[in-house]
Symmetry: D2
């Protein structure tokens, strides 16, 4: 860690801090410069948080050298992790496709969607029973009744279910139903929920928060791994920027960056990432090309009737076209569609 | 609501949508333009969400006319709301000052901080027992033991406590201890938590999310009011932008904007809003000038020892100076310091 | 155009505005709602700017229906435009690759780079003689001497030159040298420069500004077309967001969005879009997959010696690998590499 | 400067870089850590740009210790600079008020605005003859005819003129007319223009770019000072963020931050900073409170008729109220209104 002192910091300040570094078992370094004194600490700088150097009045800035995450990083774990949702591997040679409606509405709707996406090769189904909505007056999901429908449709079609969890208290009832929990963007830093999911052994698809840096995203995953659950799949779903023509700005830089630094699989959600039906397929192609491990796409048997996100949901016919369109890009990336 | 159709939308599409609008009891409007057909719906457009028009393939865009919030708005409730935390009014003539450490560390630390801020006129105390931290390896707060310390210090000093709640399951144990719950920026859209707090009658200080628009912020407050709890205090604490010289960008535009549209009191947090000790006082002055109802400030009896946020915590002596500095601005704004 | 009046707007206000709309030859519409009066204007709303309705004290907001650009849009010009730089077409079946160093340094350097990129199939060369740099103390480019070197190398290799123009006064001297002018991100709204380039007939590669919306980007292009120069090529090069792990956030959503709404060709710059050498190839693949018409890439014969942007410049060997890597993606997109 | 090497960097890489540092006359430092090797360079690190270390393939990141600007900083120039526009000082005890219309429209309009703002105590007048507009179809200003009107009205009222320059070629004709040049946000990094203004001796009001960091803002000012013109006044006018309720997000953090680090005066533009007439006064109050040296405000004798920015222009009566409202805040900040 590099500690830059303020111009008026005294010799005594520097000595006090260097002594603290030494006390923690790190090697202290003193670098008196022309305009600033710079201090260094060699060793596992994560122990330095005990010193809280940034609170010291003589300190101008603190620059960490090491990444703050460990378990999710490639340095200790160089090989790609494959997480199985039911029997479907995510993170290996197969390009995963999770598809289905935004929200669970009725058993018929769910069944129609499930059959439509299964027919085109999707091996995992999405659908929300609990819906986080900006307004209290918007449809909030059918809750436990929705979970029941998901279970029924999963049983009939054999598709494992990916569904959002919003409350740690629901784990008990969801554990036997879900193939994978989804943590939504708004809850990416709901640390109570992350800790609870760390105690589960079910896969967790963790969506990136709207304003989360890549580092915060990986640290949120680190919470789950540190809790004991290694089955984490990341999901880039667009970040919030000044651009309003699209709902979010899909950050494919982040996918390439994370693939180089983390062993965890990462999906891309082009539906939320764009918010516009016509852009879903081109961005799904780009996701395959940039190296993502799969996509998660909203498909509704009739988006006109959708209770939420109709604007970005694909018609079954469009989903069919998407699957055909992405195939050569998936293969160019050295992967296969199931 | 204004519904703009795509250039290639058919006559039948327009008729279908207009019929739907009429069916919901609204007045439909047909405006055939040169390049686009525009439809309108007059009446309480909030019922229109049943039509999910944005999912219709012939619809290019949907533009609401009315604000999506009701209970928090001034249209139905023109006068300022005053929320009492213990016996301290927030939102009236008195400029509220909430001060204290970022985190509860020890009873001694808490007592030292409480006495320091009380001596300078703060009538409300802050301090976190549960700490949301980006990294699982950072200090997470003392939890229930921290609550016990807060209760003890509150009892001795008479200062009501403002402390963060991260998990709805903690309400039972916190209800008798807290003067006001704080919902942190990362949980602003933790709707499970908001709904649970809607069932409490204790005041809730709701912090704006890092990437929350003003509309989303007010809708998050609407969740609590819609749940039955009118005692909501908003708090602007900085948003995330491209600027990295400061920890966040304090959005004082939002304070002035919200004061004109909502009757709820609003505080400003210049500590998180800047992240730099030296900027806290100038921004506290600006907060008073822009019309905020008070401030919430981090003060630590020795920031060098702080387990979190030391960089932005004021020394007691600096807090004393802040109180002296803001006084003429508070008075220029037609308010008083307690 | 839809004009929403403030709650307290009077009958007289509405009449005054409606009369103004009629006077301009548009069809006025009066939509009295429960909580707001809404007015409409049917016809070519672009003439409405004469009314300056947003300045009217009774007006709450003004919502345009039509896009503000015309010449760059597909509505009047549905087919893809192909712009030729020298004899190299951009926007057609061939996937364009512009490659070369960030800055012109020496004739030898330039020659080495040119030969390296030509050998791998690049048919257009980039290199800056005028360099916009944040700091006045950074290398500012060799200016007219740099142009001379570009001319020499272009003559020897036959590669047309793409180089940045920063000052309209340089057009005279650059006109015979450049294959295409590049307008950098910082000058995207340098309207004096755009107008001057509208009077040229040489192709212009217009880079998106760091904080420019898609609409502003297309309007900047509209300036050049409205000035009489149809030879405009757009270039997405990343926008500025809160994320700092990468230099910019490459917005591939924008590429897909623009391809659907504009007939102009669009390139992607994965070098500036990521700022990290290791991310250039994955994002170049994604650019091909999302439907871009080509890429513009920084290649230096020895990035260690580069006077600018070394961090994101490819070694010739890496560029060779990039060309091999993108080939199947270019072909999957129905295009060919030269 | 701190240079962090990649995990796989070799001993030879480190030696090569250390030798380069030494060759430049700096003191090299070698800090071999557990997971990374860190190098340091003590001395004036600005010379290090010759090494272009960030382009070295063994380098992971480069962290400068010193600020990249010198002339605008307080370290070498601790005392506040006062810049005189005509005979009006900006940066001293007097709180400067620049007021007037967005654009010069007619001599009558300009005269009416000038008299209105002068009557309320404004001592400087703004008004644009050259208008940067997003769309080529919007009013572009009256150009040189507008300058003539400004000269006439300035002569009659005695108010020095602040007006935007968009093209360095206009300096000759503007030099004798303007009291201060304004560089607009879109041209903040138009380095050709900045260099040309560095050769003038007239004051320059430099507006912060929409997406410019504080560091880039100060470096843009550094261009002008490095060119020989010390008469630079900064202006914070709002940055672009995800928030769309207001036109921009006024960054008052930046004002306080810059006052601590730069000796240059800084104004605040609450008109562009908010884009909403009703928010101008509260933010002007906040600007005075945070320590700004003055404000620049749009006032039009009849905003309904304004050719641009009517939505954010004050009526003369509102400007009168603003001047009364800000007075106690200006005085609380230890300043006076003229």
């Amino acid at each position: 860690m590099i500690i830059v002192l303020k111009p008026k910091a005294s010799e005594a300040d520097a000595k006090e801090i260097l002594a603290g570094i030494e006390r923690l078992g790190l090697t202290p370094l003193h670098m008196p410069g022309v305009e600033r004194v710079v201090l260094g600490a060699l060793g596992d700088e994560r122990v330095l948080r005990e010193l809280n150097l940034s609170g010291h009045p003589a300190v101008e800035s603190v620059k960490p050298i090491l990444t703050p995450y460990k378990l999710v990083g490639r340095e200790l774990h160089p090989h790609d992790t494959v997480v199985n949702i039911g029997e479907v591997p995510v993170g290996g040679r197969e390009f995963a496709v999770v598809a289905g409606p935004c929200a669970v509405e009725t058993t018929d709707q769910l069944m129609a969607c499930a059959e439509a996406v299964k027919a085109q090769g999707a091996r995992l189904m999405r659908g929300g029973a609990f819906k986080p909505r900006s307004s209290p007056y918007s449809f909030q999901g059918h809750g436990h009744e929705g979970l029941r429908m998901l279970k029924e449709v999963s049983g009939k079609t054999g598709l494992p279910i990916v569904t959002e969890i919003m409350d740690a208290n629901d784990i008990d009832r969801m554990e036997e139903i879900v193939g994978a929990y989804q943590v939504g963007a708004r809850n990416m830093q709901n640390f109570s929920l992350l800790k609870a999911l760390g105690r589960s052994r079910k896969p967790v698809i963790l969506k990136r928060g709207l304003a989360a840096t890549i580092e915060e995203f990986l640290l949120a995953a680190e919470y789950i791994l540190a809790g004991g659950n290694d089955n984490v799949i990341l999901c880039e779903r667009g970040i919030r920027t000044f651009e309003t023509a699209t709902r979010n700005t899909l950050d494919l830089n982040a996918v390439a960056y994370i693939k180089q630094r983390s062993h965890l699989p990462i999906l891309v959600d082009p539906s939320h990432g764009t918010g516009i039906r016509e852009l879903v397929t081109p961005l799904a192609r780009a996701a395959a090309a940039v190296g993502a491990d799969g996509i998660i796409v909203e498909v509704h048997h009739d988006p006109k009737l959708a209770l939420s996100d109709g604007h970005q949901s694909l018609y079954p016919q469009e989903f069919k076209q998407l699957m055909a369109d992405i195939k050569p890009f998936v293969e160019a990336a050295g992967r296969v569609l199931a």
